[in-house]
Point group: C2
Chain length 431, copies 2
Amino acid sequence: MAKLILEPSRGTRDFPPAEKIVRDKVISDIKEIFEIYGYSPLETPTFEKLEILEAKFGAGENSDAVSEIYRFKDQGNRELGLRYEFTFALARFVGQNPQLKTPFKRYQIGPVFRDGPIKAGRYREFYQCDIDVVGSQFGIIDAEVLAVIRDVFKKLKLETIIEVNDRKLLNEIILFCGIQEKQATDVIVAIDKLKKIGISGVKKELTERGISETDINKLLDLLTKVEKGSNKEKLSQLEKLLGETEGVKELKELFKNLETFKVEIDFNPTLARGLGYYTGPIYEVFLTDEKIMSGSLAGGGRWDKMIGKYIGNENQNIPAVGLAFGIEPIMEIIKARDGLKRQTVANLLIIPIGKATEEAIKVTQELRSKGIKVIVDLAGKGVSKNIEYADKLGIPFVGFLGEDEIKQKKIKIRDMTSGKEELTDIDKVKL
Amino acid sequence: MAKLILEPSRGTRDFPPAEKIVRDKVISDIKEIFEIYGYSPLETPTFEKLEILEAKFGAGENSDAVSEIYRFKDQGNRELGLRYEFTFALARFVGQNPQLKTPFKRYQIGPVFRDGPIKAGRYREFYQCDIDVVGSQFGIIDAEVLAVIRDVFKKLKLETIIEVNDRKLLNEIILFCGIQEKQATDVIVAIDKLKKIGISGVKKELTERGISETDINKLLDLLTKVEKGSNKEKLSQLEKLLGETEGVKELKELFKNLETFKVEIDFNPTLARGLGYYTGPIYEVFLTDEKIMSGSLAGGGRWDKMIGKYIGNENQNIPAVGLAFGIEPIMEIIKARDGLKRQTVANLLIIPIGKATEEAIKVTQELRSKGIKVIVDLAGKGVSKNIEYADKLGIPFVGFLGEDEIKQKKIKIRDMTSGKEELTDIDKVKL
């Protein structure tokens, strides 16, 4: 057998304990907030029938993701594919379970797969983390979803800005500028790139898509002119031009509801979000300090039409509001901020001195029964090798157990950070 | 577009919230015990290079699992496969990270995939849950691993029997009966089926594999004769026949160490475990009440040679002790025992009475800030529909908030099980 090249396959990664410990903590913090807001976990399979994966998108919409599906067949020659997101699986699940009580609040966190180009921070297997509420047409739920965003980033101690816009409003603005309805999606996809490619880039793209220069200038002037002022000021500027349209009304209601939830947001009329299926408020979250990371950390909105379409009834609106957190960029920021200090979950390494192994095991088991995370040296490695092990792994405390300590029912505990040692009653150890 | 058949692909399942809530609790209970024993999480990719997946097994060993790999290619035409277990990934990770400090205690929990036959309780995507210690050749770690088993099932409140044997001992018995060493693996695979196919079945299989009747009878007589008595009695019967062999010594040491850890086990000389790679103690866990489930709930052992082989150095023993818990059978038992009572994590549904929605949101947010899992009706559905929703979802408490309650800063909480109602200060709600 030729020697194997030992590595994960292209675009995938191992999460060694040091990283996985931090990752698990981030995910458990996020889950805690989700559950406080009454979102329950749903788990769907890692792969699905290919037709289910490909069904979601009409002409050209997100065709990248579909072309990036890992495809394969089972032994029964069924066409399958790895999931590339969770929304289609939610739509399938809802369609399949008409008895589901609504509002149905669910979250799903786990890996998804895209056989696409690889660059810094972009992988072929990566986590998505979604919450959605299905079956609530009331605008106030959009405000509650924004409160979840606020609380998640508060929990993670990340200072962020939540940008908000509304798809109805954006459509109204587009039509107001003389652009035809059938071109609205193209325009939205172009506007979505404003932060990345700037005004000149968007102009170029819109021109290429056949929008007239007059319309383009009108649109961009309008969108950039209302960039200043408070949220309410910006919205009333638009209202003066458009009248009290549906989009304006929807945002007014959202702003009022956000006051009830005490959530601060930033109304950004140029926020577009690429995907075609949004139907109402949309939002995106950025780190306040854009120097650290300029990409978005979460995004979502209302998508009332997709589930109906998906389950084969285009006229049935099944309202839904959803949100995805970018676990990967969030992890990058937290790793850079906090570092990866620990390679083990253990808080204490017990080092038996002399022939105390058997007694050390008994003490270890006593501490474990109290829920303390303990490793005990079973190899008789001696003090200095054990200290080195604790140091390398980032174990915060070591405990020495020799004959003297055992006789006194005590353990000598060393704080590995301060170097301070203390003789403690075994039944009083708390870590 | 033809109407989609909305269902998970063959052999896969959704875990709706009712099931996923129980599943998450079981997994978190198991993780808690793992971490108390100092095992840290490792996560490896969902798919790997096919050559990595296929490398582990020599001639005929576990060839089923290899033929059941879901195979596919990426856009760069690389051959890939979905992981079908975690051991090979641990071996790869260890081989790839020679700087790893040992003992390296890790756990991994997650889905694995096998494109095999489907029957009751057997799926194509299912969870595995492994702990392994790499780099500890000391027998006492085997006893600690058995203590983990004991504590996991105690935590899950499942009464189990841990059966223990030793591969060295089994080999010694096989040779003692006159069977040739090159046939030992065949014999072990056959003995492994004793519970399933009985003595006559094993006899038949051994005959087919060319073992003489004399040898077969000698072997089965010996294995079944020592089935009675205490662990030490059984072992000393074998010692009288074999002498103080390595296997006998290893088990003697294990029994002694198990006393230190206060772990009770059942020595079963016929326990074989199918896989070829074990080199020392082996163990398997069964429910005490075999009427509920007769299959094993966990199993493992010492496998000192595989990692060395895997990383291309057959002569390098990298000692390892490992254990896999069967999440799927454990879940079946717990579901049958406890039922699936809750379709949501929420403990409280707040029902605004009259026009109290805005105030109800404020109360909801106050309770959420204390970590209580709350849903609030934002749709003004009225009392009876809300009660029905809480009842169907299994929410244990509902809270009524009308003008009176709000004035008094109180909330009327109904226990949905007892029907009892109580007016409570909002700042004193505890659930």
